[in-house]
Structures are given as C-alpha cells and as structure tokens.
Amino acid sequence: MQFTLLQDRYSDLLNRYTGPAKKIIVSYHGEMDQDRVSMLSYTAEHQLDTEGARRGSIKKIFNILIELLQNVLLHSASPEYGKPFYFVLAKNMEDYVAICANIVSNESAKKIKTTLEQIKKMNEKQLKSHYMEVLSNDQYSSKGGAGLGLITVALKCDNNFTFNCITLDDNVSLFELTAIIPDK
C-alpha cells in the first residue's frame, strides 16, 4: 500500500534541510527490515565521524537512531500495510536533527501519544527515575520494553523532541518523531 503523505513529507524534509548552514547527513525512504536498521545507523555513525562531530554527540545520535529505527521495525501497523518509513538525519546550524516516521495502528498512535505527552512533562531526574521504574517492572511486551525505548530517546536528546500523529484512515496513522541533539 502506498502512502503519498509519507512520500510528500519526506520530500518536504529534504528541501527543508538543504541550503545555507544546513546539510542532510543520511536520508532514506522505503520499507524497513533489520538490515536497514544496521545500515542506516552505521552509515550515520561513519558520516558523523567523517565530518568531525563530537564523540559524545555521535554516541547519543547512534542510540537515538537505533531506538527510532527498531520502533519502526517492531511496531509498524500490520503485514497488510508493510513497514514503510522515512528517516532523515540532518545538521541545522549547530544542531543535529533526527526525524523518523512510519505507519502505526490508530490504537498504537493513541498509546504512543499518551506515553510521549507524559515523558515530555518530565525533567531529567524524573526521566531517570521513570526509566528505573519501567526497568523494575517485569510486565514487558513480547516486542520490547513498555516504553523503555522512548524514555531512552528522551534522555539522549535532553527531552528536546517533538512528535506528530496524523490519522490517515479508520485504521492507521502516520507517526513522526523529531529529536534535536546539539553538537556539544
């Protein structure tokens, strides 16, 4: 199934991050699989290293990318929709911007929205304590860790992220997360 909105937003992002003091480091639009997770994260790591990004920033970005990309792999809507996604890692002035979007069920979109709205209100101390609380809880889903990945993303970008859930039809939504990581 084709989602033109995914393609349109991806094209918009490529335009948005092309120009003076901006640069696309890695970008991709297509179907997700585990090889794509490895390929995109290692390519990003290599490109960041080549362009002289700080080691601390590279590590944070690598962490965020794996969590975002594995979320696409594990939590995309359903087999009938496939796992279409886009991913853009760009530099904007002094910040790195990681954007990842995929198709999720409307039910998942609702849950992610609630989880992220809660996370967004937390300071670093509260985030760390929430991480410990989730880690202590043994009620994990078969696919992962009850939101541990999203807390990890929030911790790595100092909670500097935004997200969008756009309902596409009765079944699915487009979910997009943008994390901003200063190169410091």
Partner: protein, 126 residues
C-alpha cells in the same frame, strides 16, 4: 556443561560460553531484531548449569552499545544468574565499561539496583 558459541554480527554481540577453555564472554554491540530469541540460548545455558557447582565462572560482559530491548533481555539473564548463585552456582559478572562513556556503566549500576546483583565493574583501558 555444553559449549555455546554465537558469532558476532552487525547487530548482535559475540557469545562465548566455553567450559572447556574456561572462557565466558558476551561482547560487541547488542541490538538484535528479536532480543528475546537471541538471548534464549544463553538463558537455556544458564538454566542447565549444574548446581551446586564446584567451578567458578567469570562471565565478562563487554558491550559498547545496548539497545533498550537488549537491556530487558540482559536484565533477565542477570536475574537468572542471581537465582543460580542462590542455588549454589558460583558466577561472577565482570561488567566492562569505557570510562569516557557514562552509558554502559550507568546501565550496569541500574541492574545492580533493580536486580540486587553485585557486578564487578572493570574500566577499559583508553
């Protein structure tokens, strides 16, 4: 005790659990697609350890990246190790970390708090 060897790939660590060479190690980057399935043989190996045991096992965990889903699987492995030690096994976990990167050490410390296991922290030479 059987030997368990899993080769390292781009997204899963190398596993060596070799009682013949007395070498016990999990090393590399951990972000397999299905962490539960990846770590299941390690879990089974730990479950099959004879207890009480005469032999000390020093398991080195040398990971430089651990995804959030791997964190959960490794927590389950360490919980199993703690249980086996309570049943008479003698497994010591050496948790290696890079002193220039706070993440891995912090994950080890979180495991100590949550599981109540004692890890031996080993700083990598840099």
């Amino acid at each position: 005790m059987e030997k368990l060897i899993i080769k390292e790939t781009l997204n899963n660590p190398r596993v060596i659990l070799d009682p013949f060479k007395k070498r016990y190690e999990i090393s590399g980057k951990s972000f397999p697609e299905n962490t539960k399935a990846f770590y299941q043989p390690v879990m089974d190996w730990l479950k099959d350890l004879p207890t009480p045991s005469q032999e000390k096992i020093r398991l080195s965990i040398i990971l430089d990246y651990i995804s959030s889903s791997s964190v959960i699987s490794i927590k389950q492995l360490l919980t199993k190790i703690k249980e086996q030690n309570e049943h008479g096994a003698d497994i010591e976990v050496l948790w290696h970390y890079d002193p220039t990167d706070a993440d891995i050490k912090e994950i080890g410390e979180a495991f100590e708090k949550v599981i109540g296991i004692k890890l031996q922290f080993v700083s990598k030479l840099v």
